[in-house]
Amino acid sequence: MSLTRQDVEKVSLLARLQLPPAQLDAMTVHLARIVAYVEQLQELDTRDVPPLAHALDLENVLADDTLAPSLDREEALRNAPKRDVECYRVPAVLGGDF
């Protein structure tokens, strides 16, 4: 699986990164190297090996449905780059109402 500049451009949109042409080239070279390196995993036959997503075998860790205080609004909005007294603000959400 060889990695093209177009692939990298597509991934950069998916990752919400903005790579100017020069960086796109550098990123393509870098990613291609890393991808070539991780290709070594393909040499292992893992058909009968179940994936291990988590090293800890815990289950059923659940919390009681008991109210706890929320942050006050000022604290909740404190780190917002743009806000009004009640809400976070962003450029209009376009492309439909959902």
Partner: protein
Amino acid sequence: MSAAAFTTVIGLEVHVQLKTRTKLFCRCSTQFGAPPNTQTCEVCLGLPGSLPVMNRRAVELALRAAVALHCDIPTLTKWDRKNYYYPDLPKGYQISQYDLPLSRDGYLDLPDPQGAGTPRRVRILRAHLEEDAGKSMHDEVAGHADSRIDLNRAGTPLLEIVTQPDLRSPTEARFFLNELKLLLSYLDVSDCNMQEGSLRVDANVNLHLDTPRGRVATPIVEIKNMNSFRAVERALAYEAQRQGDEWRTTGRTLGEVPKQTRGWDDQAQVTRGQRHKEESSDYRYFPEPDLVPVTVRPEEVAAVRAALTALPATRRAQLVAHHGLDPYDADVLVNQGPALVDYFEQTVACGADARRASNWLQQDVLRTLNERGLTIQQLPVPAAGLAELLRSVAAGELETTRARQVFQRMVETGATVAAARQALGIVQVASEDLLELCRTLLAEHPHIVRDVRGGKTQALGALIGKARQRNPNVDPARVKAICSELIAAADTP
């Protein structure tokens, strides 16, 4: 769409908010209607470093719903991240379930409204537990548009219920939604309030057409943004029409174009495509590493099943079998929710006739609830009180019109039957008084007596009216009977 016979094929994705006090992953309130951004914490704001912990109650409610939908409950379920960017999704991913949902392969039977035939079975593909996003509000300010974000709703527990494409008409889709909503409210799992956003519906629809070249399907369209069951029905009807038209012009079939998403415009009563095409969605699901799996033992599923209160279908059947109601009446009562059915059963248990109780509930009681905006639990007349009233009616102590007045009085003042009757001056008229009144009336109106003798028995109606003017408490049926007797007795010398 005259040329080809067609079938509308519909599948629904329903999101219902589970009735928990707190959110799915933090202990902020889920109460509707709070001022923006006052029910948030570092977890539901997605602040760096915060971690989710699953709400036990949400899992229990989801499980209850899944069992009631006859789903298989796998012994192990886990959560996954669905990655996408949206300003109302503060973490940049939604915690949802992908390959190991809490439940799958169930069904919901839709009753035939006529009570005949076999119910329609709609298969449930899966039902899984996930978190809600926040709310974006559009705001035009000084020439450029902003969106305002309220994260109160972010992290609210949702059960996503996905049907198989088993529905065959917009009306059937609405029936399904009604029945689902009813089921979930019987289960006490969700409020299912579309206005407050605690139930939301997306629909997938296409047409299967029989053409001379065989059966073809139109491209599937997903419809969003429908805010009532009626809107779902209308949007689907519109979309079926639109797809038929489009097929006739373009001839395009399933697979030739990517799945499209359209929003329902309730004002214009049309569906509209998205203005801006985003890159094709690639959610990059992977196991949520901040949560651990939940295991459900078969005994636990059995316990949930055993604890299920009677569901709509069961209660309909019980009303027919135990109380002799006809299926239509049973359906009307059951559709009003479990509390009303409970009220009905209590009324009957207190000695009221089942059919009479059913009629009263469907008419007087429901009208009163609607007019006053009350729930059955808030009705000032207890089931025992209604039963007592209906027993008086059955015993002939009270005629229906008077009984309605008594009922209204009970509603207004919370009085008992006796107190309401007394307040209205309703006492049973003694037999001798009634006899005396009838004699007087006959004496005063010889022309009526003549008419009756001449065979115009309907003339007695005038006497009844006059009797009620003299004494509102008289029973019209008895007045009629006594007068007839007196006239007949006078005939035989």
